[in-house]
Symmetry: C2
Subunit: 262 residues, 2 copies
Amino acid sequence: MISLTVGLLLSTSAEADPKLPPWAGFSVVDMSHSFAADTIYWPTEEGFKLRVGFEGITEGGYYYASNYYSAADHGGTHLDAPKHFAEGKQAADEVPLERLMGPACVVDVSEQALADPDYRLSEADVDAWENQHGRIPSGCILLLNTGYARYWPDREKYMGTNLLGADGVANLRFPGLSRESAVVLAARGVGAVGIDTPSIDYGRSHDFVVHRYLYERNIPGFENVANLHSLPPKGAYVIALPMKIADGSGAPLRIIGLVPQS
Amino acid sequence: MISLTVGLLLSTSAEADPKLPPWAGFSVVDMSHSFAADTIYWPTEEGFKLRVGFEGITEGGYYYASNYYSAADHGGTHLDAPKHFAEGKQAADEVPLERLMGPACVVDVSEQALADPDYRLSEADVDAWENQHGRIPSGCILLLNTGYARYWPDREKYMGTNLLGADGVANLRFPGLSRESAVVLAARGVGAVGIDTPSIDYGRSHDFVVHRYLYERNIPGFENVANLHSLPPKGAYVIALPMKIADGSGAPLRIIGLVPQS
């Protein structure tokens, strides 16, 4: 009887109790900022707009509300599809779901980045994480916690400037990845890279080398991610589901973390 | 030793092997249609628009692509937030994630609905499902498979008409739920209701009683859902992550099914 029980448990380890969902034992963390009038976009963009279509009592006597939305595809919490910086690579609707779901590896550089807005994730930071938590597994979602989500939606603190247009772009200051760290992460086979700033390249970048290196390899980016501080360095999982925009260079992203309960 | 092993397995049933994600043993099914020029919207709406912002080689010598998107918030695969038909109820950003993730109960009425575009889910249909599969559990995502997803994106077959504007609305023909079935589902405590047609009320509805009954109870709807035929009646799970639109009456929805592997 004992061995039979063990066998049953082993064969159904992912669904031990059919009444429990696969995420039983995990807390669900919302890692998306809302899309609203104050949602942060690149200084060259106008931002997110929601226009009321109808709101009130209809001729039929019942309440009804509907809206129209419009925006640039790279503001707020969003997916960068590889084709954003790599011609012919995957569009937003083509990024495989398998790549958007995986174990979370959270690298916390908030101490350095909050002290230096030009901070970029280094190879040494990746080494330090691996020395403590083991090798970054293939397929993991690498999330860089710079601490900057605490400034959202204060543009000046979050991205270095309130200015719009070219003046705004010239004054961007926020942390990101270094090209060297991107090379290591791609070599590890990460599924995607996420960050809690407007861009995986740091604010002062002019050549966007991190975007170009990763997207050429069909490794997408998640930008303006929220609540990274709620995830442990290792042990959580991420499910990141973008709006399925055909041919999209990017898309709004609803991203959640599954955090093991103690 | 045996009893210790059993204890360990029990205590970590949801994460038997720390290298396996919670969805190990499940296949991931994409249940969203793409947003594109041919995405189906209500006849009164213009549809989804993607406008190229830039596509090509920049002054910096690297490739870059970005877009602008705009649409009504109730076309394509989308969330109906309760506030769509119930004043003061939850907006798109307020629907709790817990309500958007749950076991899938798939009721297949495709035989009846493909023969009769005015077909509405009946109490008897719900009874028949429960007689075969057990009581609909609280928190489940009730998905109605009418078979109409096979017609997407052919508007005439999918919703009964190619016409736009008021003429289109007058000629809508597609299946939905009945008010009586909605009352039973609400009593069961379903988390949400999804369907593979443009509306949870059938096409000829003028009073939208299903919307009004469910949304007043903060039970949201998923409309234009794809691939319901890929889910078993019971045993799969749904994760439905809408674009997080503050104050939204609805939002684009990326919805996936987790289907147990044999």
